[in-house]
């Protein structure tokens, strides 16, 4: 395609095999997965449950090391968690309940040593404004709705201005209406700063809306099935995104097609 002036990859995942131990088994989550994320990519990892997409994201986060292969960010190998790769989780308890919204964002900036005191406060408030929560800056997380909590988590992640934002199904626990709204907001935020984001989801529509590039993983263990371009969000042409959606559907459910019709996702 337009590979002529491709910039160097920001994140490179190279032949990564991930295993984790449960009480009884050693489970292989992914097998020799490779992909590259370019700066300002909205890169989506998509696959059914069991394809190791969350495990893969945790490995990029530095929470577990690959048994084979390498993960490099800006050329440096990832070995441990660090503030250059900020995670946004699905769970609402990622906010510290003993801190207010503002303190939660400031805590991240201060404990990572990014900023101190008034500078941290200013940066925190700037990003809280971006997610439209200025009125709630002094509220505690338990007073917020699920969508608001996720917005705080996104503000906290963005305030860190990390090299890459890692999002692990951040909207999966929200109701459908809020979820849709949050997707739009995330895209608006991206338009503003063009940050790089690695986004995990199991929802095909969400992947098409959020991503500009989609990595399809097949399960047990997770392996790369395809890497697709998505421009579903740019031209508001439902036909293109529907075609892409069908294509992804066929790939993910290919082996079952003979037996049953794939369920229609909305």
């Amino acid at each position: 395609m337009q590979a002529a002036e491709q910039p160097p990859a920001l994140l490179r995942v190279d032949g990564v095999t991930l295993q984790y131990k449960t009480r009884e088994h050693l489970v292989t989550a992914t097998y020799r997965v490779s992909f590259e994320v370019l700066p300002s990519d909205r890169f989506v990892l998509l696959g059914p449950s069991g394809c190791g997409k969350s495990t893969l994201l945790k490995a990029v986060g530095g929470y577990l090391n690959p048994v084979e292969g390498r993960i490099t960010l800006k050329g440096a190998t990832v070995t441990r968690p660090g503030p250059d790769r900020v995670m946004v989780f699905q769970e609402f308890d990622q906010l510290l309940p003993w801190k207010t919204v503002k303190q939660n964002v400031m805590f991240a900036l201060e404990s990572s040593g990014r900023l101190k005191g008034p500078e941290a406060a200013d940066r925190a408030m700037a990003y809280i404004e971006k997610v439209k929560l200025t009125r709630f800056a002094d509220s505690y997380p338990h007073m917020l709705s699920g969508g608001m909590k996720q917005r705080v988590a996104i503000a906290r992640g963005m305030a860190m201005e990390p090299d890459i934002l890692l999002m692990d199904e951040p909207f999966a626990a929200l109701d459908a209406l809020t979820r849709r709204k949050m997707q739009d907001e995330l895209l608006q935020l991206w338009e503003g700063t063009r940050f790089t984001v690695l986004f995990v989801t199991h929802s095909i529509p969400e992947a098409i809306r959020i991503g500009n590039r989609i990595l399809l993983l097949s399960p047990h263990p997770g392996q790369v099935k395809a890497e697709l371009n998505s421009d579903g969000t740019d031209p508001e042409d439902p036909a293109t995104s529907e075609r892409l959606s069908e294509r992804i559907h066929r790939m993910l459910f290919a082996e079952h097609d003979a037996i049953e019709e794939p369920p229609v996702h909305v």
Binding site: G61, Y63, R80, P81, G82, P83, R85, V86, M87, F89, E91, D93, Q94, L96, P97, W98, F107, A108, S111, S112, G113, Y140, P141, H142, M143, M160
Partner: protein, 289 residues
């Protein structure tokens, strides 16, 4: 049987504006507010209990078995006024605080050990399993042999009473901190002491506070029991000794006064100290489950 549902007309309504409502908020009546006040309700219960006591004691008419409520209160006030009860309470509280503080410190050391290695974890779990069910007072004879007749023995027993429940609760609180929260802490570069102080302790605070409360109650009853058993050390005994002494003198209203003092101190610590800590932390953070 089942005919298709009848078609109904659709409708769309204008929203009523806020200022068109009659009642958006209306103050509660004074009586409703009094009934909503926990303190008022509890004082009411106490008054009823005191009334029952007074009536039964008057009916029994035997001050050696059960003095009336009024008589007890008179004795209580007189002994507070003379300073005797205050002094005894102070003696008890002083010993109590020593044991409590020491037990808390040791509990912390043990939990940190348990958090930092698997062996430490096994050590704490084995020790608490063995020693937590052992009544502290059962160690008193040994303490007397090892440490002699005096404060150190009582403090030793108190430490035993306080340490295990606090360690157990703190540890299980730490273990229960959610994986997400741990990952958040590590994501922003927290390790070691900062990680424990900024993530684990606040996240486990509900359990820690429960442990502190249990430890306090255990310490208090162990102390009174220990004083009852061998009473005075270095001249002036505490509340337990006060109760024991007055029993020997058959001054039953004074015995009740002593018990009263124990109850009042317990209530005060529960409602002032722990209640306030709870309001400023767990309740404010919405962490009570």
């Amino acid at each position: 049987m089942s005919s298709p549902p009848i078609a109904r007309p659709e409708y769309v309504r204008e929203q009523v504006q806020e200022h068109d409502f009659d009642v958006v908020n209306k103050p509660l009546t004074a009586w409703e507010r009094v009934r909503d006040n926990t303190l008022v309700r509890r004082l009411f219960i106490l008054a009823v209990l005191a009334g029952i006591w007074q009536a039964y004691a008057a009916y029994l008419d035997n001050a050696l078995v059960l003095p009336t409520f009024v008589e007890t209160m008179r004795s209580f006030v007189a002994r507070v006024w003379s300073g005797e009860l205050l002094l005894k309470s102070w003696v008890s509280l002083k010993v109590l605080m020593q044991g409590y503080a020491l037990g808390l410190a040791l509990a912390l050391v043990f939990t940190i050990l348990a958090m930092s290695s698997r062996l430490g974890n096994d050590l704490l779990e084995t020790l608490t399993a063995m020693l937590n069910p052992l009544p502290a007072i059962a160690l008193l004879p040994l303490a007397l042999i090892w440490l002699g007749l005096g404060n150190p023995s009582i403090v030793f027993v108190l430490v035993h009473a306080v340490m295990w429940p606090i360690a157990l609760n703190t540890h299980s609180g730490f273990m229960g901190v959610s994986g997400t929260m741990r990952m958040v802490g590590r994501n922003y570069g927290l390790t070691g002491v900062r990680y424990v102080g900024m993530i684990l302790i606040p996240a486990a605070f509900p359990s820690i506070l429960a442990g502190l409360k249990i430890g306090w109650a255990f310490a208090w009853r162990t102390l009174i029991a220990a004083e009852l058993v061998f009473g005075t050390t270095s001249g002036s005994g505490g509340l337990g000794w006060f109760i024991y002494e007055n029993k020997n003198l058959l001054d039953i209203p004074a015995v009740f006064s002593g018990l009263f003092a124990v109850i009042i101190i317990g209530l005060a610590v529960e409602n002032l100290v722990f209640r306030i800590i709870e309001q400023r932390t767990i309740l404010k953070w919405g962490m009570h489950s």
